[in-house]
Symmetry: C2
Subunit: 314 residues, 2 copies
Amino acid sequence: MRVLRVAAAQVGGIQSTERREQVVERLLALLEQAAADHCRLVVFPELTLTTFFPRTFYGDQADVDAWFETAVPGPETAPLFVAARRLGVAFHLGYAELVRQEGRVRRYNTAILTDETGAIVGKYRKIHLPGHARRLPDAPFQHLEKRYFDVGDLGFRVWEALGGTMGMCICNDRRWPETWRVLGLQGAEMVVLGYNTPEENIHYREPPHLRMFSHRLSIQAGAYQNATWVVAAAKSGLEDGHRLIAGSAIVSPTGEIVAEASTEGDELVIHDCDLDFGADLRRTMFDFARHRRPEHYGLITSAASYRPSTFQDG
Amino acid sequence: MRVLRVAAAQVGGIQSTERREQVVERLLALLEQAAADHCRLVVFPELTLTTFFPRTFYGDQADVDAWFETAVPGPETAPLFVAARRLGVAFHLGYAELVRQEGRVRRYNTAILTDETGAIVGKYRKIHLPGHARRLPDAPFQHLEKRYFDVGDLGFRVWEALGGTMGMCICNDRRWPETWRVLGLQGAEMVVLGYNTPEENIHYREPPHLRMFSHRLSIQAGAYQNATWVVAAAKSGLEDGHRLIAGSAIVSPTGEIVAEASTEGDELVIHDCDLDFGADLRRTMFDFARHRRPEHYGLITSAASYRPSTFQDG
């Protein structure tokens, strides 16, 4: 048994009018509460520090960049790192990252993982950016991740931390089995992720319950098919008048949801995760070395698609 | 709307003492019933014609080969093809196939798909063979697919038939997301499969309910992540004293189970499947051309595993 007590820290809606300092106060309260409950890892959502700004079209890039961090820890986020060190609690945090690379400004949808001293041990930049790049004039709101972010350049990686092999992904990545498999092939025992998932589908009439259903299905399948724990934290509830689904959850390597949020607000979802729990499954059903047949998987890496896109995008 | 009324034809346990002719009589009854219910496609299980013989160790290869077909249609199976033609119903059938290739005898876990005239339009040979190759002396029963079958040599393919793009896989293939993705990349609108899934896990103490749970999770995830219909037919119930799970089901491209067996015996599970139903999902969330990032999927095809197997097998 290698038990890691972990908390998915669901964060209720963050309004445009909330300052970073106010948000960090809420996160600190969750971190303190998790430490009091003897958690060793707290998983915060994607883009934890701000409203989900890709729902809004901004004509002026400066208005977009105002939602980005140029350094983490920075003045507003440093208290999180200080508290993590003081409390001995690791954390995962998603934020919009603005960085200068080879003389060019790049913008990523980023997440970090710290150890129990608050030191950053891993960084991930979102690879599967959903939505669209061009403003949709008739949509009730936008989903402009393809406009505001660059595709992540760090790949899907794992890190030895917290007594196990830890992986990260972000939001829409969870719907793509390739995400889980690349992490699983590297031996991930726990994958942590945050998400911001609008309840409403802006592209076609989809029953709202399917948003929660496909969220659960995606994380459960990813867990089972790679025999890994999954810890998924939502930013949820009403945010600037738009609803994000909740459903923060911890999924065992069998694919079962073992703990789930019961509210749409700030809430800790806690479970004692035995990192050895997936070992039987990895030794038998999902013994990759004996059972996988990469010679028949060629299409998966040879092209993005064998159908042209029919979506009108910029 | 391109509606295809399809039946998953669940087949209750087939005892070792049942002759092929008796089994085919049962299949003909299901085919007749499906035709009366205006179905255009009937999906029979994996290894439909016999008991699930890989649960037994045979020292004499002739005892294994007795479960194989050397020709389909053959004397015992020809009535199925005649009935399909007379009734105007296509069918999918799994069977053990013994074939001579380049001077060597090969044995495959095979399935075929016919059109509505009973003509074979596609053949698939199982790629993900589960279980083990060497007899497990302490196991309550065996799972010797790796001993009795060769790995399928036809890849994962789709066929234009029945007004849509049809794919096939078999049993354990459904637990591997690569199966679904290779079919999805080729535009599969419906994937049909049969399975024989023991209720008991011979490798470690697994709660029996998880067998049904992971079956459902696998076909639901495969459907959703590739926006395809899935029609899954079980051989189920007591067979030579061992129980196979039932749960034959039809899954829509949203991942929802829209019809499911209510018994462990011979039963038709019927649904009107609109082959256009996945189009919205394929145009938006799962528009592969815009969203997939194969440059980050390299590990999936570069090796079967990055961990050595710890399973003792021959």
